[in-house]
Symmetry: C2
Amino acid sequence: MESTDKPTTPPPKSDEAPPPPPPAIRRVNCFVVDVALRVLLFAATLVAVVVMVTSKETEFVPVPPTGAMMRRTAKFNHSPAFIYFVTALSVACLYSIITTLASFSTILKPAFSKKFLLHFAFWDVLIFGVVASALGTAGGVAYIGYKGNSHVGWTKVCPNYDKFCDYIISSLAMSLLASIVLVLLIFLSIFSLYKRARD
Amino acid sequence: MESTDKPTTPPPKSDEAPPPPPPAIRRVNCFVVDVALRVLLFAATLVAVVVMVTSKETEFVPVPPTGAMMRRTAKFNHSPAFIYFVTALSVACLYSIITTLASFSTILKPAFSKKFLLHFAFWDVLIFGVVASALGTAGGVAYIGYKGNSHVGWTKVCPNYDKFCDYIISSLAMSLLASIVLVLLIFLSIFSLYKRARD
């Protein structure tokens, strides 16, 4: 964050190192990174939701117990796990829009930045929990669809619906990215509070 | 936290309110709550792992496609989701032991408390992500076992293995408690850092 400001500071007149940027500029820089990460969170959650919702595929598949070929459709809303995933990621997407605006307002009015950091950290942790559990839920069900489970007789789904499974995997990858971004946002808030506690 | 110290402070000589406890005592109190929560985290994760691992049940069940009754055993390690759950909760259990000792050492040596708060908050967030995703994964698979999925022909497991399912639900409840404790621990660290940034 600080390195981006160094070219704008005046060159030192003597052999001394250039003075560090004032705390106000550092705080604004912290919120610029915050806004950028929140925009990335918005993009990741939006793509995850759109890809999951558009993952419909219709194929001729053998239907037990007769094994006759029938036209069947695979949709995300056939599984409660994927419905929970879409709900959770939609909440995270909406949250990212609200907090991007709030974070942007903090750049313009740095006076409330400390309180914002506290609230951001609290809410980011809760949303992170929701997104991580949704990723786990959808991932667990997708794994059964991919590998099946011979112990309880749950058959594979992916050999019949390869496009559907590709969409699910892409959506899960996007939600993993959203989780990583949320962890970075929490770390940023915590580290900013720590820096201010130390100053 | 402060209320526990009030009886030990000397009574006020005049009409003035009693003076607030010094920052050092408040910091120690924060770590006392921290240690208590970490002990609770240890207990919750340990119970979750033990209950999940001991959830074995053997029953006579109809085996498709003939429907003949056969002696079959349900064990947690028949599902990769439950194996991931046990691994994640075991890591959280080990983590809770290490951090309980570290937090306890901070009560004895409060000089490093700010650095400890930072590290605790970082690691608590990561462990929270692991526990939340494990809870989601195991919960998603347990839900299929409980309700089945008619769209893909995945049959219910719980009508045949009721004791096994009771164990799984108890274990999931314990991991939910562990997740809540981790959220409280993260909030405690963040709020302590915020208080110090404000002081």
